[in-house]
Amino acid sequence: MGMTITEKILASHAGKEKVRPGELINVGLDLVLGNDVTAPIAIREFKKIGVAKVFDKDKVALVPDHYTPNKDIKSAEQAKILRDFANEQQITNYFEIGRMGIEHVLLPELGLVLPGDAVIGADSHTCTYGALGAFSTGVGSTDLAASMATGEVWLKVPPTIKFIYKGKMNKWVSGKDLILYTIGKIGVDGALYRSMEFAGETIKMLSMDSRFSMANMAIEAGGKNGIIEPDEITLAYVKERAKRDFKVYKSDDDAEYEKVYEYDVTKIEPQVAFPHLPSNTKGISEVDNIKIDQVVIGSCTNGRIEDLRIAAEVIKGHKAHKNIRLIVIPATQKIYKQAMNEGLVDIFIDAEAAVSTPTCGPCLGGHMGILAEGERALATTNRNFVGRMGHLKSEVYLCNPAVAAASAVLGRIASPDEINKG
């Protein structure tokens, strides 16, 4: 019996020939990550362990992105804990505001995660890097503390579920829609403790940015990781970024899958996840007249250049509806600059959007766009739990950037096709 790509990466990082689902292993790590929410606790716990230094100052990444630029005194103090620790430990990959970006967009952009790597991060969306053919998974602060000390993490080898996507995607459909559709089918615990392997001809045609959106939301189905085998598109992306060797792993033909799902993507239209679970999805044509107050385009799910290009294409020449607050957040400084150079920022500002420096801000109800009681937002983010973006009696709907842009213009959840009908 062969192995899946996930099993191969885990075996190689555990110093084993072979691993099987259910096996508890110690995995050596290529990178460990923390942010301004999770790292302060990790640093406190790290100091209790009694080791003086992190296992490798080049393999710890600290990205203050959730409440930065500091939203208040308490968050300033949390961010300072990271800064002081980064200085004291001479952490190479600490990213101050002005140089930072949303962690899961920034690290791949800088080539800090590469195919075949094993990565943990104290942030649930660390599974994003699976788009590169790396194993990456979210953990908590104590795990981060332990891994900063040892360079290892204990993991149970997950069984793998394979998702095969067939056919050409319809207009306005992106990786975000494929993953929302998938979560809608299997539920928010449909891949609990499992590896989600995304494959098929549709995936091979998918851009890197769309692949990142898909792997990013594996956790929304309870998955341990989401992963896509590297191909020419992956290699073209990493070629200009990699500063070290990496290894491409692929699943064996006789690898064992716990389940295989097949989806015909020609039947998938842009998806909208209704409150209060990402699995609560509908196709855009099934969405009635739902008025909204705020639209957010950004986040580790959809703040990449392709996302901004699509949103700009839809919104160009239009203005946000008078009742809409439109917030656009490029995920990194590089993407921000690229968006400026391509004229996208002009399009957004002409549409009367607020364009912000990179931050996770509104996605988690941190800052930069909190909802009042009874308000409703449509966002390209990843979670629509109760109170996620503000008041407990506010609502979040999830969608792709094209739907978000069209809805900002029309003031209600709408298809991009409605915009140019005259």
Binding site: T38, S124, L364
Partner: protein, 167 residues
């Protein structure tokens, strides 16, 4: 450890955003976090809970964000253990790592009602509903995880393993 307490029971997919809303994540002080435990789910919880109480929930408890603030807030609110039909994976790791006892036992969840008094033996994984007299056995943890739990968390486990002097 053996714990006895009154049960607060909730449904499925209780996410970490409702366990501790993000507006409180600008601190990592357990006392502060404990004051807002489960605020997004039940604003009255913090007034109803007494030290020693237990949480019982359906499937996928603790889904969503990786915030360890969630088990910290639950523990700081006085909850001694959480029994669920299943746990989301990061919450599961976090609870074991920071020393909040959790037990996976679908039968117990079905056999325990809000307000029941329950006794839990975390070492043996035995759950007794003192109100009804029913006894349930939780899914046992792998040996390695039991070791971490015996040390009251991963940091103490590592301290012993690596030696107090460090590397």
């Amino acid at each position: 450890m053996i714990y006895q307490g009154k049960v607060h029971k909730y449904g499925r997919d209780i996410d970490t955003d409702v366990i501790i809303p993000a507006r409180y994540l600008n601190t990592s002080d357990p006392k502060e976090l404990g004051k807002h435990a489960l605020e997004g789910l039940d604003t009255e919880f913090i007034n109803k809970v007494s030290p020693g109480d237990m949480l019982v929930a359906e499937e996928n408890f603790g889904c969503g964000s990786s915030r360890e603030h969630a088990p910290i807030a639950i523990k700081a609110a006085g909850i001694t253990c959480v029994i669920a039909k299943s746990f989301a994976r990061i919450f599961y790791r976090n609870s074991i790592n920071m020393g909040l006892p959790i037990l996976e036992c679908p039968e117990a969840v079905d056999g325990i009602k809000f307000g029941d008094k329950v006794e839990v033996d975390t070492n043996k994984g035995v759950i007794m509903n003192l109100t009804t007299g029913d006894i349930f056995k939780a899914t046992p943890f792998p040996d390695f995880i039991q070791e971490i739990m015996k040390k009251d968390g991963l940091i103490n486990y590592l301290k012993d393993k690596l030696g107090s002097g460090g590397s």
